[in-house]
Assembly symmetry: D2
């Protein structure tokens, strides 16, 4: 039994980032797919993302995870750019190395004012359960949001 | 009774970022002061850091907080570039707006293999206890580290 | 300049626990002081609280910290028993041993629907900054709450 | 391809709790199954576990989740009672109500000194993905542990 369709599509989300998040431009993250309550993003490896140890940096992985959760939240609320991170926790489980990364965010709870989800990050070409990082976070939803 | 001096100074830490963290270049964060177990950093406001809502983005604040904790860890271990974030949690408490931000990291625990600390982030020119964000995190210290 | 008084006092909070939280009876935690946005609680050492390593257990410390944050939230909202933990993170920094513990909770943010705070736990008789545990957490406030 | 067997079984773990964790006695939690890197526990509903709102309390859910992660850690290390929680984060997603709860812990990373895992908690008789709580946590493993 399929649920309701996503309230935003990948192209609309990418346009939001391109037009309203200047840092996203150089970052290079792509939205692969958005379905209701879920989003999958891809961060192509780029040497400028590394830190000592020759691995994609923690802040780059946070940015990927936070962006993926933002997409998942908007898949539920529709285009509500003012949804903001209330809190986010990341656990780094294995080195990202010089790899392109995939992130899949999934909403676990969608209240009127708060959406909670988790994000799994792994290396492209490897098994999704060999996690590079696991994040959980909450987004505050603006009170006027027309959550369908 | 003063404790031991910091095992790294601000200039050395800034050089580490400049030479080994390419993303740090465009980011513009400055190390104001490092003492034993503490570091204070400053992120000048830059329009490229914003997100919808006209406020410095969550990823920018994470990057500032994570970098501040890295500096505090190295103030204890000495120049151990391979110290890496094990986990990090950020709570966003009020909007950063279009403000220059200050971050102060403080170690709470320094074991042989794990250092734990907290980071407070506030707007420059405002009271330090009007927090924009509060982070807590753990860094894994390489086993060969010569923790003094 | 003193702020508004606490919206609940220690005796009222203790009565709430005694009458509506059966587990609190055997636990033995005492509310020392509630001021606006703050609460200080005390957990007398009791051999039944230990775990292997002859130290007060993690769940006992969580219970103390969560209860302290509950008191701090009610100091702001008034007697709203239905305020519930949305999330809580605890970092264990040093062993509690066989010690009576003190906990001080402090609100960092009080929105209409969510209150965020931190809790510091230390051994009675030691310096408050030699932390046994640091917790941060968020409480969801019922929508009808008459936040003064 | 089956992995190595669990380094501890459910009966041994229950005995550890019974003999060394006095609080576990009244708590009533049962270990249903331990496999390598995983543990499933059950907390029968008991009126003494409730809090205002007529629901199993947050501390009771924390205790269940922390105990499940402890079991999963020992399934990897063998009987190392001194493995201790380094940090734990719980997100409460829906009310537990007056329900018996199930918890499944799964290790995500097992280093020499730190094991990281997640715990899912749901109501017995409901779908496991209708989560009551999601926890992630890290356990510190004693240095002498004979991790097989």
């Amino acid at each position: 039994m399929p649920g309701p369709p996503a309230a935003i599509d990948a192209a609309t989300f990418d346009r939001l980032l391109r037009e309203h998040v200047p840092m996203a431009k150089g970052f290079g993250c792509e939205t692969l797919e958005i379905t209701r309550g879920r989003a999958r993003l891809r961060l192509p490896f780029d040497p400028k993302l590394i830190r000592p140890g020759d691995t994609v940096s923690g802040p780059a992985i946070f940015t990927l995870a936070d962006t993926a959760l933002y997409a998942a939240v908007l898949s539920h609320t529709g285009l509500e750019p003012l949804a903001v991170t209330a809190d986010m926790q990341l656990r780094f489980l294995r080195s990202a190395g010089r790899h392109t990364l995939l992130a899949e965010a999934r909403l676990l709870k969608t209240g009127a004012r708060l959406a909670v989800g988790e994000v799994r990050v792994w290396r492209e070409g490897e098994e999704p359960d060999r996690l590079v990082a696991l994040a959980t976070g909450a987004y505050a939803i603006p009170s006027g949001a027309s959550t369908p």
